[in-house]
């Protein structure tokens, strides 16, 4: 086992990693930019090194600064956290080249999963469904009709080189298909200088569901239940829960089997997440995130594990302390992300407590929220035996959480959690947009 680890990150995830390391008896070296001089992760770590100015490119994203610090402080491993360099295979390779343990999957696996086409083909190979659609470009009505007959309406026509909604047309019936195919191709040509389009099944208001995975690098894969992250503002997750109100035991089993095959065959090592879009009782592979995720605490609550500990153990070649065949989901956990609406200095901080309440944050009274970094300042996570009880607990805890000096989104989160549709559990990724006017 290792004795010292560099935490190549900041904020709450750095604090989270340091806490587990202390329990494991691993010394931690924190890195910080001049903007984070007084941050909690700097205070909690055994040692802290200033690696650069506030701009991330010259500090938290500076591979030479991080490697130099890790080597010179006698670290044996590097934990990249989330964001920043956590899925950067070049950094992972440099860490290994320096003779250090990378707390993450093999750099080649990161590259493979980062390529959307390869990842999709690999998922298909291991029996995970992908969004049905044309295998290649579609140019004639006949080709389009063949796709529609296979997957049914509604369908979405997308530009192959597209993005940002341009060249996208949703079609509901045969009569509109040919015309929309032409329009989409013209839009694609005008916007991307490439008129190539393809057709996919259009999922209406799907749920975002993901499985938490811990794998030992030898083919052993533990599926730590799912998380539902359907409450999103412009693709930014706001509320996450485990289990998902929209996943049946049958679906969970089918998802888990496919994921086990995929991660097992890749000899995946460490923590990872496999994301799906869910519509009704169907699910479709989206992508794999080859790292720990912000919302991991809800999975920790329902499985009773420390995922960061398991991640470090397997990456250091130790066996995981989870029996992959005996993972049981117990009760219900919900997380509300606490985001700063503008930078500032915290003048008052009251942290909620009581049973089943956890507040992961880098804030203390007097902390500064810098304009240089992510707006998330904390995560309020609760657990109780079922969803209604967990919701009541989260609303109670949000009521106790007081942050002054920095405006935060507590009120918005209370409104979403009190919304009848959210409480019914029957909603998809379109929920936030529908609620936005009333928030």
């Amino acid at each position: 086992m290792i004795n010292r680890l560099l935490v190549a990150n900041r904020g709450e995830i750095a604090v989270r990693i340091i806490r587990t390391c202390r329990e494991l008896g691993i010394d931690t070296v924190a890195v910080y930019s001049t903007a984070d001089k007084d941050s909690l992760h700097v205070r909690l770590a055994d040692q802290a090194v200033c690696i650069g100015p506030p701009k991330s490119a010259q500090s938290y994203l500076s591979i030479p600064a991080l490697i130099t610090t890790a080597v010179r402080t006698g670290c044996e491993a590097v934990h990249p956290g989330v964001g920043f360099l956590s899925e950067n295979s070049a950094f992972a390779r440099e860490v290994r080249k320096a003779g250090l343990v990378w707390i993450g999957p093999d750099p080649d696996v990161i590259d493979m999963l980062g390529d959307k086409v390869v990842a999709r083909d690999t998922a298909l190979k291991y029996g995970l469904p992908v969004t049905p659609g044309s295998p290649g470009p579609v140019s004639s009505r006949e080709e389009a009709m063949a796709v529609v007959r296979a997957c049914g309406y509604p369908v979405i026509i997308k530009a192959a080189s597209g993005g940002g909604g341009k060249g996208m047309r949703i079609v509901w019936k045969d009569e509109d298909l040919e015309e929309n195919l032409k329009i989409a191709s013209r839009e694609a040509e005008a916007n991307f200088a490439d008129g190539t389009v393809f057709i996919e099944k259009y999922l209406q208001d799907p749920r975002h569901v993901e499985l938490q995975v811990i794998a030992d690098g030898k083919g052993g894969v533990a599926i730590m239940g799912e998380r539902d992250c359907s409450v999103q503002k412009n693709h930014q997750k706001l509320i996450e829960e485990s289990p998902s109100p929209g996943v049946t035991p049958g679906m969970r089993q089918r998802m888990s089997e496919g994921a086990k095959n995929l991660f097992g065959s890749l000899k995946y090592r460490g923590a990872g997440t496999i994301e799906f879009l869910v519509a009704g009782d169907e699910f479709f592979f989206m992508e794999v995130n080859a790292r720990i995720q912000v919302e991991h605490p809800v999975s920790e609550f329902v499985t009773g594990t420390d995922l960061i500990r398991e991640q470090i153990l397997v990456c250091c070649g130790e066996p995981m302390s989870i029996d992959p065949d005996k993972v049981a989901l117990n009760g219900w956990s919900i997380e509300a992300r606490i985001n700063a609406l503008s930078p500032g200095k915290v003048t008052r901080l009251d942290v909620p407590g009581g049973p089943g309440v956890r507040f992961d944050s880098f804030l203390v009274a007097g902390s500064s929220v810098s304009p240089h970094y992510d707006s998330m300042v904390g995560k309020l996570i609760v657990w109780d035996s079922d969803r209604p009880k967990a919701l009541a607990r989260l609303l109670r805890a949000l009521g106790e959480l007081k942050i002054e000096g920095v405006p935060v989104n507590i009120e918005t989160q209370r409104k979403i959690l009190s919304d009848a549709t959210f409480r019914s559990g029957q909603f998809g990724t379109g929920l936030y947009a529908r609620l936005e006017a009333s928030l």
Binding site: S33, T34, I51, P53, P54, S59, I63, P64, I67, R72
Partner: protein, 179 residues
């Protein structure tokens, strides 16, 4: 240089993304910097105890506007990174003793070396003069030898770190006196 040339240089700078620009010809030196170039200086100034942070920032920026320290990577000689240097805390403006006293700080995290190799003489010695564009030390990061050069003539008053030390970004390395 006439006003017109000066204005056109300034406009050129404004249109660019550069944080700083230096123009030198026929004995004229024209140097402009955006506030981004002072990020490191500002942060260092804020660390100074006593006095509001705002005052510290402007003092730091004012001092560095005239000259700076160049970090020249030896394997890529054209790489130039401006480093922070601030007036000595407590001495600045306190009369004859404090005049021209500057702290030179590390622009990167790395290993501090006083000489080019273990058997070579040190670049800088206490009490000795270091001329403009002369090397003060080398900071090694990932086997890249980065030479730190002085941008003004000075006398080294104190060397604040030991040969082979890991130095942090913004860490004080030398106390020097401008001459």
């Amino acid at each position: 240089m006439d006003d017109k040339a000066l204005i056109s240089l300034f406009e050129l700078f404004q249109k660019s993304d550069a944080a700083e620009m230096k123009y030198a010809a026929n004995g004229t030196v024209f140097e402009v910097r955006r506030k981004e170039a002072f990020a490191a200086v500002s942060a260092a100034a804020v660390q100074n105890p006593g006095g509001p942070a705002g005052a510290g920032v402007s003092a730091g920026a004012g001092v560095s506007a005239g000259a700076g320290i160049h970090l020249v990577s030896q394997s890529i000689p054209e790489t130039v990174v401006p480093a922070a240097h601030t007036p000595c805390a407590g001495k600045a403006g306190s009369g004859k003793d404090g005049a021209g006293c500057e702290i030179i700080k590390s622009p990167i995290v790395g290993t501090f070396y006083r000489s080019a190799s273990p058997d070579a003489p040190p670049f800088a010695e206490v009490g000795k003069k270091v001329g403009k564009n002369q090397k003060l030390c080398i900071i090694e990061a990932m086997k890249m030898m980065n030479a730190l050069e002085s941008e003004f003539d000075c006398v080294v008053e104190k060397i604040l770190v030991n040969n082979g030390d890991l130095v942090e970004f913004d860490q004080a390395l030398f106390e020097v006196r401008r001459i």
